[in-house]
Symmetry: C2
Subunit: 429 residues, 2 copies
């Protein structure tokens, strides 16, 4: 709820208290199971199995682009990698960095990216495009053009890509790192001068307007790594300007060390008060040496070799668990994306993957899986209905299947509301 003038713009602190029990993510449902004829099945064994989490457990899908497009240079590794990916995650982020997506003007890599997006979508994975506007990984051919031409090309690019992928990719990081965009100096690019001239808000408006106009149903994120008051101020600017942010993206690359529960919750509390669901868009935790504190732009840290270590892997497993537990404890968090499943090809060469370079799972992979597909997952369970045909389903919000033990008739059940409730399903098929 947003109003101008003397009334409240943002929510009070108390609206979003974190709850480590995760009760806000669990349904306790009394489900009446009917047979194909509509009659409740009394005293009958049924199998209840969760099929999908409501919460998004995401990861970048960059590494699978070649695999999906039949260009794998290591099919054994990639096949195994794909299986592990799909076993843990239900949201994929695909790369739309303008400079690599369209290295030659007019020849965008639409086909192979669309193939990858469809591959994920066909497997029940929600796909997000990242990002539509950013100041790095920019095309060379954009440099030295007049700013009005840069703006026209940027707008056309958004419309083209959002349009080409609509129906497969309906979630976009509309703009990335706008806080630093107009004052970014590390790399010459055409977007910084544009953002400087237009101002951050109008640059953001450009991204959201073009994407929204092309795909009105799209979910559009504002995404940033800056967790300081700067991002708060920017969000307030965007809201004041009447630009609708569908989801708020918070990066959390922790190459310099795990934030810890206190800092994480403080950040969530600060950003939750805008009443916009939060995506942790880019989480990284290392299983090796940490990057020194004095590094400001993580890209400045260039090392020859950055190994994963046994002690580092134990620490990473603990921190991954703590990170995900903390994030899920906050009701505003809707999606948590990990930034790269494997060490192979990881950003900065960092040992931030959940799999080692050889594809074997680190402890963090097993730990996260034991949460996502263990403690937080309703594995197929045989339950006996009562005299009225009812079973109790206590589980994480998401999609379920109710079926007879011997197969045959089944029904889908969606639990999308926390707490006590009743539901009905009618087996069919």
């Amino acid at each position: 709820m947003r109003h101008h003038g003397r009334v409240t713009l943002f929510t009070a602190l108390t609206d979003h208290a974190p709850d480590p029990s995760l009760a806000h993510r669990r349904a306790m449902a009394e489900v009446t199971v009917a047979g194909p004829d509509g009659t409740p099945l009394a005293g009958t064994d049924v199998v209840v199995a969760q099929t999908r989490h409501a919460v998004g457990f995401g990861c970048i899908g960059f590494e699978l682009m070649d695999h999906v497009n039949g260009r794998s240079s290591d099919p054994v590794y990639d096949n195994d990698f794909a299986d592990r990916w799909l076993d843990l995650f239900n949201v994929a982020t695909l790369p739309f960095y303008w400079g690599t997506f369209e290295p030659t003007q007019g020849a965008p890599r639409t086909a192979e990216t669309l193939a990858a997006a469809r591959w994920f979508a066909d497997r029940g994975v929600t796909v997000k495009g990242h990002p539509l506007v950013w100041h790095t990984v920019q095309p060379r051919w954009l440099l030295d053009r007049p700013l009005d031409e840069v703006e026209r090309l940027q707008r056309e690019r958004i419309r083209r890509d959002v349009g080409d992928f609509a129906g497969v990719i309906d979630t976009w990081d509309a703009i990335n790192e706008a806080v630093i965009m107009p004052v970014f100096t590390a790399e010459e690019n055409a977007i910084t001068p544009l953002a400087r001239l237009k101002g951050r808000v109008e640059t953001i408006r450009m991204a959201f307007d073009e994407a929204r106009a092309t795909n009105p149903g799209a979910t559009l994120l504002l995404n940033d790594f800056d967790m300081s008051t700067a991002y708060e101020c920017l969000i307030e600017a965007v809201l004041e300007a009447g630009i609708r942010i569908d989801r708020l993206g918070l990066q959390s690359h922790m190459h310099q060390g795990y934030w810890g529960e206190e800092k994480t919750l403080r950040i969530l509390e600060r950003f939750a008060r805008y009443n916009i669901p939060i995506h942790l868009t880019e989480s990284t935790l290392l299983s090796g040496e940490l990057m020194p504190d004095h590094v400001v732009d993580l890209n400045d840290w260039q090392v020859e070799s950055w190994p994963s270590t046994p002690e580092g892997e134990e620490r990473q497993a603990d921190e991954v668990e703590r990170h995900y537990r903390t994030l899920l404890s906050h009701p505003a968090v809707e999606v948590v994306n990990y930034w790269g499943l494997g060490d192979r090809g990881m950003w900065l060469g960092a040992p931030g993957g959940l799999l080692r370079g050889d594809g074997s799972p680190k402890p963090a992979y097993e730990r996260l899986r034991s949460l996502v597909k263990g403690e937080w997952w309703h594995a197929p369970t045989t339950l006996r209905t009562d005299d009225a045909g009812r079973v109790r389903v206590d589980g994480f919000l998401g999609d379920y299947e109710v079926s007879l033990p011997d197969g045959g008739p089944a029904a889908a059940l969606r639990l999308d509301r926390a707490g006590e409730q009743t539901a009905q399903v009618r087996l069919a098929g």
Copy 2:
């Protein structure tokens, strides 16, 4: 120039190039001097004297409150202090911290503050009130009231004080440190929760709206110590919200060391692009040991004794000169306020004054005076008019007096435009 949509919001970088020659602050005027009858005075000696700088050289006037109100506990010190103050500065900042201005609800210190404001105004000094809204130095009696009452009282307070001082104080720091306001935790206060609920922009709107409604001609500043991208984002938010900022206030308390020319110019360049004239509202440079870098909130640094040292005084004098030269080199800078003329009673007990505790001038005082009333000042100078009654006046922008050497007829001359120009004066009186 501000527009929405596809056009330019902010200025290009090149519009505000700094110029160390300060040519942008100097007039080169060919002045025709006429006698009382309107006839140009050919071949006549005239005295041209600057009487006021166009640029604001300001300082807080807090220390003179008691002196002005006849309550000085050290009249000799205060008399001398007042003379030195008036010899150097033409802009005074007076304290309107709510907690000390109105320690008992309904009993504001209006009379003594008004006496001080008038004392300065009578001496040709522009007076600014600081601040109308802030989260520290808050009244105890405001705590634990419902937020709607806090807001009502805050609004009433603004209207009362802006109204009571209109005509004497027409410049206000409308709101102070809004970047940190909603997340400030160091001190319990009633304004932080209000700012948190309303959001920064609506809190700023409250301050500006109430002040503007009460004194439509007032010059209203947004003031902050945060020189990061956060302040940029906040400014963009305020501009997007359609709130007119008359002047942009940048604090520059340099207790942890002089910024240096490069950082200073980078900051000015970043904030100048909003096309709002800049006031350096709070400048401090120490003549003693520096505060360690690790201190984040300067208020956390509590020391028993913090002496001014001979080496420190030499350094301070150099840095004061560099600071003022750098600031004036940038065309966007309109006012530079120093934060306390004397070490006695200085914020944090720091040796940041230009006078020592005993009132004697440090080298920095003499250095600054040699600029403000020396290099940058047109002292009374006898010039001979040419055959057409013309003299050349090359000097800093500001007010001048042209008179005959033996007194008698005189005329005021205002040079408010840089560069070559012509002007006419007619002596009278």
